[in-house]
Amino acid sequence: MAYVATRGGERAIEQSQRLFRAEMGEITRERVAEIRRAMPYLVDRAMGEASLYDEDLAALALAQTGGEPYEAILLLRAWRTTQPRLQVAAPVRQEDLFTHRRISAAFKDIPGGQVLGPTLDYSHRILETGVLAGEAFVPPPVEPAAVPAPARQPSVAAWQAENGLLELPGDDAALGNEIPDITREPVMFPAKRAHTLQSLARAETGGVLALGYAAQRGYGQAHPTVNELRLAEAEIRVRHPRGTTFSAGRVKISQAEVVSKSGTQLGLGFAATLGWNEVKVIAAATLDLNAPGAEKGSATEEEFFVYHTEGVESSGFCIHFKLPHYVTFQSSLDAMRDAKAKKAATEKAPEPAE
């Protein structure tokens, strides 16, 4: 005999999962391929937050969870953590990025030029309702420029540094396995620079936006100017055991530099992530810009934003409140009832009036 049949509990779990999955039906290779093809920005966002660059796995995770992003990213993270680390790629430098889009709000024009690239920034946000009536939406073909923009361009910050407007951070000499890795060691504060940037890179987009927006609205000290926003592809260069360096392929990345007047120099905030996700990197760079000297416990303080933008941790904790808590609740009730009884006893027997 049992309190509540154990098998009953296990059966309930099984059936609840079936119920969830029955909604979505069969998951096929075709469905995964279609998600990957049709929703590259959703796939990018998942890859960035999972810190795992694999479009097929990201599309599979989205298919498997019906597009529930927190679940999809947890799936990817849990998969990622079991994978062996075969190699650490060579550092990627800004000037080596294969750039698709690169804009600066700081200057009208910049060395290398403003490259608008793919964007909906100036689109009118109107639903193509005709699609629902059976008229397929066929995107008009792109007319290539007579002279293509240069694929590789210097950073705007480099120009500013040459002109004495800002001081670039020094090169980080750490290479290979010496690079601190947020997935293999706990973050401690004040955090290592690598840990902060890695945390922002895999932060949850909505969380980073909320805190970055708070900073932009005035809960931060520095108002960001987007020095440079870049969507690009980075070459992953690894070393073959025989000694030759070769490209293992390209990954899409986004990066943002934001600057703000800081005394006689410009302060610089930076963020980058896997996949193309402009909102995230601008918000994250804003947090980075505001972090130095931020008050402990404020939204722009490193410990605060690193912990609270971690999507897998924050979403997991939030939903854990669904778990039974009747023991802790009972314990609180006990203290509360006793305090109440004590209060009632003292109220019944008031001090005699003088």
């Binding site: 005999m1 049992a2 309190y3 509540v4 049949a5 154990t6 009953g8 509990g9 296990e10 309930a12 779990i13 947890l74 799936l75 993270r77 849990a78 990622r80 953590t81 079991t82 062996p84 997935t183 293999r184 060691e185 706990p186 973050v187 401690m188 504060f189 004040p190 402990k296 416990g297 410990e303 912990y307 897998v312 941790e313 979403s315 997991g316 904790f317 939030c318 939903i319 854990h320 778990l323 039974p324 808590h325 009747y326 023991v327 802790t328 609740f329 009972q330 314990s331 609180s332 009730l333 006990d334 203290a335 509360m336 006793d338 305090a339 004590k342 209060k343 003292t346």
Partner: protein
Amino acid sequence: MSLATLTRAWEPMSYGFLDGSAKREVRRKMLKAVAVPGCQMPYASREVPMARGWGTGGLQVSCTLLNPKMRVKVIDQGADDSVNAASIRKFLARVSGAPTTTDTLEADLIQSRHRIPEEILREDQVLVLQVPNPEPLRPVQPNMSIARQMHADADYGRMWLQLYEQIVRAGRVMQGASYPSLVNGRFIMTPSPIPRWDVPKLHMAKHLTILSAGREKRLYVVPPYTRVEPLVFDDVPYRVEEHGGLTCTRSGATGFFMNEIPQDDGSSAYEISDSDFGVKSIRKREGEEVAFGATWYTGGEMEGQGR
């Protein structure tokens, strides 16, 4: 000689789910935590195939410790049959090949959320407690980095002040579960959200207790035969929940921590919270021969905890 003869065959998953480097780190941190009782050790805390906050810290410790010869018991709120306990038990058994049990006496490793079983644990048993928030100072200092410094300095004045304020305002200490306790006379720890009823079970216990918070990436240990003293003032004794006099409506047993079950008529019924102990008590009442272990509490009182 070929590569195949030198390496193991590819497997989709490591034994015990975690890879070798993750297990090595957890092992090292556990040893360190045994050496400094009650001190929180930061660890990387890998992602596991369960959501953060659902026992991922306990799970990583169990995955590291388990082997096919160990028998594992998993409880949540005292119950083996709670859905999350069932899910964790299934996962642990699947990745380690360890046999499972619901009987506290049979278990080598017990992973638990919010309870310590009523039967006294032995020297050969390990208790793994899931911890949502490893930082007892959080109510007085939400920044982990500052709290860490306070632990280093044994700067616990604000903890005492907090208890004092509760007594002044409410006439008693209002802390429910997670009662802050001093370990080995040095570090204040949170015993995880176990009820106050269970905290004295950790004091000079024969068994090893490992407390692990996966989301917060900290683990700490109460080694066997270590002092665990709830923070109390000399003139205001520690009080466990008033459950000593309650009787379980299902088994008739008295003197253990109970679940309160609201009744339609506005009253409450009670049942033993430790589900396996409750089942044993029912079987005993029905006349079956049942092996009970000695319990921490007898007649609703724990030795040395008299008021």
